[in-house]
């Protein structure tokens, strides 16, 4: 076994336990000073003033320390290799954090008159244009707040398109069995029926099954390309043609666009609508679960159905005057999907990212993401079974089990990785691979990091056969060991404040 002592960092947490903020509270403490109300006083509204407010009372240093301690109990891209498949955990550039915080952006109010926020509108317009170009689309909305939100927007548009044509028979959406859970969940929210499509033995959507499923009752297909196995759909043009031929539309889940920028445009491959994940492909930070941003691109067919409002040039200007930007409402808009203008702070970050990279940089990112994934696949395929073994794109799926090491599961491999300060890959997804481990290194990882990860994975494979207990009892040096999730769901302790008397 290679000596990893040079690489293993003593676990980061300076404290392995931290009380709740309420436990640090003492009556009378406050963390920040506020001005005096230097105006004549008005009586408070009678009968509407609350009698008590159960919030902590702590000093500013206590707040700082508390949250600093808590932060040290997290793994993060900044500190750890984080090969979560489908999440694209690439470096989150700090330039983006600075530009998003420029006062002109962060203090601008969403309802200000358009003439007073031309900087914001110019930025959003340009981002729309770049995303159009990257995807091969006719129009883009920046309103959706996350990928799932973009999916919902896209499916609502597909539904509206058919209803607008008087085609009321279409209620089915075709979804491969490898799809992310948000895809079928989105269809249910739109009042549509999910029809699952099997995958063939090369990991592609089964063409025969697709052919049979296509018909006049189909709204369209929701497909991810490359798919959740990290594989490029080898018959993608046939897939989109089959769906179009029966009058359906093609929705693209753009979560895996990190393999595709400058490589191929979904619009060229036949996609009618696709969401982007700015928090994956375009480096906006994951923030422990959000905020994300899910802009949606559409072909000419669906342009008129986009959520209102869109940014557009409302006055071309001339040699002396710059163009004026403003809001327009698409003719047959499905409506507003969010208050105000979308996750503007993430638009600034994505704009900054695209600007710094340019077209050539973005393409290089995709190429290196795919190079990194294939390199790891080449190093690991001997020790782990690969369900669909061919050249992958930006991610690949291993099986986290061996017939000759029956006690060990993907979960155990994941927990053991934590001992080496590596965040586990995505577990148990896609559903079509047994004990799935989905690995996505991203382009910002060096060969040294990849080599180390491969060594650790090979070590773990060895341990699985020779000393499986080390895996079963992992992790060993995190702030907590494996959690009792059954107890959490049973006891449901979701709040640490006493229930007020009126609720008893």
């Amino acid at each position: 076994m290679k000596d990893h002592s040079a690489f293993i960092i003593q676990h980061l947490s300076l404290s392995m336990t931290e009380p709740l903020i309420y436990e640090l509270s003492a009556p009378g403490r406050v963390g920040v000073s506020m001005p005096n109300p230097d105006v004549p006083m008005t009586e408070l509204p009678s009968g509407l003033v609350r009698e008590s407010l159960d919030l902590p009372e702590v000093s500013q240093l206590d707040v700082m320390r508390h949250f600093t301690h808590l932060s040290t109990m997290n793994f993060s891209i900044d500190a750890n290799f984080y090969p979560l498949g489908s999440c694209t955990m690439k470096y989150n550039p700090r330039l983006n954090e600075e530009t998003a915080r420029f006062a002109g952006f962060s203090f601008s109010h969403p309802l200000q008159h358009e003439a007073t926020v031309q900087g914001n509108l110019a930025l959003m317009y340009q981002l729309q244009e770049w995303l159009k170009e990257i995807g091969g689309f006719a129009a883009v909305t920046l309103q959706p707040a996350a990928g799932a939100h973009g999916e919902f927007t896209g499916v609502l548009m597909m539904r509206a398109y058919h209803l607008d044509r008087g085609d009321i028979a279409r209620r089915k959406v075709l979804i491969p069995n490898s799809a992310h859970g948000t895809n079928p969940a989105t269809c249910s929210m739109a009042g549509l029926i999910v029809v699952e499509l099997p995958s063939d033995d090369r990991g592609n959507v089964d063409l025969e099954a697709l052919r049979k499923a296509c018909g006049p009752d189909v709204v369209g297909i929701m497909i991810t390309n490359p798919n959740t196995l990290g594989l490029f759909e080898e018959h993608i043009e046939e897939v989109t043609k089959l769906v179009h031929d029966c009058g359906g539309l093609v929705y693209g889940d753009g979560a895996n666009m990190n393999a595709m920028i400058g490589v191929a445009r979904p619009g060229d491959l036949g996609f009618d609508v696709m969401h982007y994940n700015l928090h994956k492909t375009f480096s906006t930070p994951h923030g422990g679960g959000g905020p994300g941003s899910g802009p949606v691109g559409v072909s000419e067919k669906l342009k008129d159905f986009l959520p209102a409002p869109l940014i557009d040039i409302v006055d071309e200007g001339d040699d002396e005057e710059p163009p004026m930007y403003g809001f327009v409402t698409p003719k047959k808009s499905i409506g507003r999907v969010k208050s105000f203008n979308g996750q503007f702070g993430m638009h600034v970050r994505a704009y900054t990212y695209i600007r710094v990279h340019g077209g050539s940089g973005l393409r290089e990112n995709s190429e290196m993401a795919v190079l990194n994934a294939n390199y790891l696949l080449a190093k690991l395929r001997g020790a782990y079974h690969v369900a669909y073994d061919r050249l992958c794109k930006h991610e690949f799926v291993l099986e986290g089990h061996w017939s000759d090491a029956p006690e060990v599961h993907a979960l155990d491999i994941s927990k053991r990785l934590l001992d080496f300060n590596i965040h586990p890959p995505t577990n148990y997804f896609p559903l079509i691979v047994k004990e799935a481990l989905m690995i996505e290194p991203t382009e910002t990882e060096s060969k040294e990091t990849l080599d180390r990860f491969a060594d650790v994975m090979l070590t773990i494979a060895k341990e699985a056969h020779e000393s499986p207990d080390v895996l079963k009892s992992a992790p060993h040096n995190t702030p907590v060991a494996r959690m009792d999730e059954v107890r959490a769901a049973k006891e449901l302790v979701l709040c640490c404040r006493p229930i007020p008397e009126w609720a008893e």
Partner: protein
Amino acid sequence: MSYVPHTDPDREAMLKTIGVKSVAELFADVPAKHRFPELDLPEPLSEPETWRELRDLSEANADASHNLSFLGAGAYHHFSPPLISQLLLRGEFLTAYTPYQPEASQGTLQVIYEYQSMICSLTGMDVANASHYDGATSLAEAAIMAFNHFKQKKTKVILSPAVHPHYRAVVRTYTQGMGMNIGGDDHLDRALKDLLPQLDNNTSLFVAQYPDFFGNIEDLKAIAHKVHEAGALFCVVTNPVSLGLLTPPGAFGADIVVGEGQPLGIPLSYGGPYLGFFATKKEYVRKMAGRLVGETVDANGKKGYVLTLATREQHIRREKATSNICTNQGLMAVAATIYLATLGKNGLRRVAELCYQRAHYAADQIDQIDGYAVNRSQTFFHEFVVKCPRSVEEINAKLFDDYGIIGGYDLGKEYPHLKDCMLVCVTEMNSREDIEELITALQEIKE
């Protein structure tokens, strides 16, 4: 500029291991005629040059740090204690993922647990989730939850017209494929009590806003009672800073409380990222959408936190999930938790009172200017309606061009019966001098 670390020797060695001659070979399965398109995108730009371009764009805006602002209408200019932004920049919060691996995410999990608890304290409810995208989508999820609670048999939702126009629009967009009947706001000038006759045994949800879109506050106990008598659920859309002062909706019978968490230390940022909070009663927890953090113990009996009741969510239940929501507003919930901890019980009350007092002072002063009339028919929190002597558009243009002041919201845009009416907002960020500047400007403008 690129963050890619690969050297030429790296690439060569890696290609050799893979067994291909070039990177292009890795893309052989992409249809040849669509492979490697020429994209009309700019050339790469260095970091300092990019910084400058973004800086120039940001300065092509007016903003509340450079201009006096009295604009509210659902997004508010409050003081964000600097430690919030500093803590949010810690890589362990900023660059962490969703806490699916609890052993690697106790920081995020405990913060969300504290957030859930504080939202419960503020709203007077039993349980809160880890967030929705914003107040509008939170309300949409409330409508869906009520619909599902009654097993999709009750299809009617009554929305008060005094609920934020964007929120009402989003509820309609969200539910367009669900066979629900969204109403209540067909007459935009209707008072809450005049909506009660619409309650029937086909009503799943009645929604009121508190303070409402016009800033008004009223006792909703009687409304809640009537809603419950009709067998429906009562949802209140609220402002979390106002709850530093006002009776919480849980105390007067709300079943669901939603709203916009942006006032809790989150920047205006031209509309996002914001924070949708959602709180409800214990009995509805399994129907609630969104992530939930619960307390438990680990294998050694040590207390810790995990995501729980995942069987409601998309990654487990797929088409049967309560919602498709995956990514939420995680880091914004962290911001709100830090804000509420820093201000605490006394500080939040103080901010709310400052807003209330200064807004009432401003209203009194504006009311005294000839030609302007403040609507005093109801008590208000920190926003009030002013009938102006000219169109709001003209007044705001003059306020901005001649005084650099960002004026209030033009209500006539969404509420025709409130033509020439401006919604003026005053927060703790508007000093007495600021208010007096506004008064002087309004005086001079009308002349």
